[in-house]
Amino acid sequence: MLDAPRSSPSDRSLVSVRDLKMHFPIHGGLLRRQVGEVKAVDGVSFDIAEGETLGLVGESGCGKSTCGRAILRLYDPTSGEIMMDGTEIARLPQTQLRKMRPIMQMVFQDPQASLNPRMTVEAIIAEPLDEHTSMSKAEKRERVLELMDAVGLNRAFATRYPHAFSGGQRQRIGIARALALNPKFIVCDEPIAALDVSIQAQVVNLLEDLQRQFGLTYLFISHDLSMVRHIATRVAVMYLGKIVELAPRDALYGEPRHPYTQALLSAVPEPDPDMQADRTVLQGDVPSPANPPKGCNFCTRCPQVMGICHEIDPEFRELAPGHFAACHLYNETSPRTEAPRHNEPTEVQQGDL
């Protein structure tokens, strides 16, 4: 892609993803032959600058989690490039990938499911150290206690098991484990979705503090648009495997360009009876990623759909500095418009004359 999004030329991008595709085969029939594929992630490109938080939002099934996992090579991507801190990892063999693991880590959604119930907190947090370092027992213990301090867990609880902790505390354990190897980049996959409202702010503030303290870079995956507005520097909106809009936070929330982003933002209920927006209620449901519509993926639900949308998949292009969207509504900015335009003001004037 020539016009690949960059936050700003001077920023060094830590992660750089180009045309990433992650397709899963569907097997069917008596012989379990491949009968199709789910295009969970279908050509996404973005950069994440060092020290920033890129928010990745979208509804369930849009491919945001798959995207996060594919970037960390928890899946083998179908195609595309992933530059991680200067190394191309999209097709790196596992043995070499292992050497990259310390710099890229993940915080999972469900702290209940992602912590081994038979391991103590100390053993959980020390596991990455066991795998990737040659620290002595005493050194490891010291590091674990340090990490527990950093995430606000009482040192005295090191020998307890996950079940003895509340949801928010468990998420802190997961965060401490992700921090153990001093990573540069952390994918946070819905880290607060399973937590109560009053606990969410605690965890988000912790993530922000840790980012400042250790210079971390985050990919923050969430369906909670209000929380992403709070934490992210830039935001990417996904729909059916593709990024439809990517912009700096204030631009995205203040002036959303893509009709899907507009509808999504208007659907979020605001906790203020006097600030109820005029909702754009989208009709119907998201199509299946195994059988996406022809043309623009959003054409089946778009309130501003045009003829061209059913034919041609819109290009992802820069509409304003750093503000990208994939929508035919903004074609006039491009000289490469393919559809003939009959209602141009110039033509009308000519007719009048």
């Binding site: 928010g168 702010a201 507005r229 009876p273 989208l282």
Partner: protein
């Protein structure tokens, strides 16, 4: 307000002094503590609280839906249409549930039976509660699916739950709940499992249905944004108790309980000014192992006083049909 008279005509549901306890192997859990509220016809009451605040258990207690044991309703009365539901026989409760009182649960996949068609599940309450003939029930179920905005209703009646999407399944649940023209609809986190754009569809549908059918609704949610849109009145629960209750606009513009205030400042906003730092409610919700003898919020409260640890505040009237359980607003006790 008149007291002593059995039922007030302007109230369709009157809950007073409800206490529900669970006997577990680790001891008692006092899930609902002295909960009292009432509901007027056509009113939409939003019940807000975090997990474990007692909001769902309260509503399930009303209708005898809790497994007993381990649950035990220690005291209270639930007056609905002139009789106490807590004293009602299982036979009468069965008539009330799904008949006079409809239910919608959070997860439409687990509350629909996967082996029966949607049409069958819609006809069931119509035949059982309203005594309709099979043919009449079939017509009515088709009408109901149309009412909740399911296209091609007649054909969809023959489909099974798995053939519907999440949003459509929740519409089916709403149709079943509305089947017998309930006077009261209890919706327990009905949009929590749905995506925001689908949630918007369901919220619009509910507002429209309530306008047309005029039933009273109790809407349980953890999302203050949802109640800000649809509720007439809001009740905030914490630690098994009602800590604040007020008409919607009054609650959002003039919150009195420190918990409500904290809750309103801890959630980030999608519009308007963006906060640089989120306000945090420190600490954890209380463990309800004993009947409360102190304010349940005191450990996390920025304005806690020594008295809060000795005594559990009752709900005090602060005017404008608004009450809060906090010593800071102590005055006239609210008689809810």
């Amino acid at each position: 307000m008149p007291d002593g008279t059995a039922t007030r005509s302007d109230v369709i549901l009157e809950v007073s002094g409800l206490n529900t306890v669970f006997d577990t192997s680790a001891g008692e859990v006092h899930a609902v503590n002295d909960v009292s509220f009432d509901l007027r016809p056509g009113e939409l009451l939003g019940v807000v609280g975090e997990s474990g605040s007692g909001k769902s258990v309260t509503m399930m207690s009303l209708l005898g839906l809790l497994p007993m044991p381990p649950a035990r309703i220690r005291s209270g009365t639930v007056m609905f249409e002139g009789s106490d539901l807590l004293k009602a026989s299982e036979k009468r409760l069965r008539k009330v549930r799904g008949g006079r009182i409809g239910f919608i649960f959070q997860d439409p996949m687990t509350s629909l039976n996967p082996v029966f068609t949607v049409g069958y599940q819609l006809r069931e309450p119509l035949v059982k509660h309203m005594g309709l003939s099979k043919a009449a029930a079939r017509d009515r179920s088709c009408e109901l699916l149309e009412l909740v905005g399911i296209p091609d209703a007649k054909r969809r009646l023959a489909d099974y739950p798995h053939q519907f999407s999440g949003g459509m399944r929740q519409r089916v649940m709403i149709a079943i709940a509305l089947a017998c023209d309930p006077k009261l609809l209890i919706a327990d986190e009905p949009t929590t499992a749905l995506d925001v754009t689908i949630q918007a569809q369901i919220l619009d549908l509910m507002a429209d249905l309530q306008d047309r059918l005029g039933m009273a609704v109790i809407w349980i949610t953890h999302d203050l944004g949802v109640v800000a849109g649809i509720a007439d009145r809001v009740m905030v629960m914490y630690g098994g108790q009602i800590v604040e209750q007020a008409p919607k606009r009054e609650l959002f513009t003039n919150p009195q309980h420190p918990y409500t205030k904290a809750l309103l400042t801890t959630i980030p906003h999608i519009r308007g000014v963006r906060a640089e730092k989120l306000t945090v409610i420190e600490g954890q919700p209380p463990i309800l192992s004993a009947a409360p003898t102190a304010c349940p919020f005191r450990d996390r409260c920025p304005t806690a006083m020594p008295r809060c640890a000795r005594e559990n505040p009752r709900r005090y009237d602060v005017g404008h049909k608004h009450d809060a359980a906090c010593f800071l607003v102590e005055g006239t006790p609210a008689d809810a």
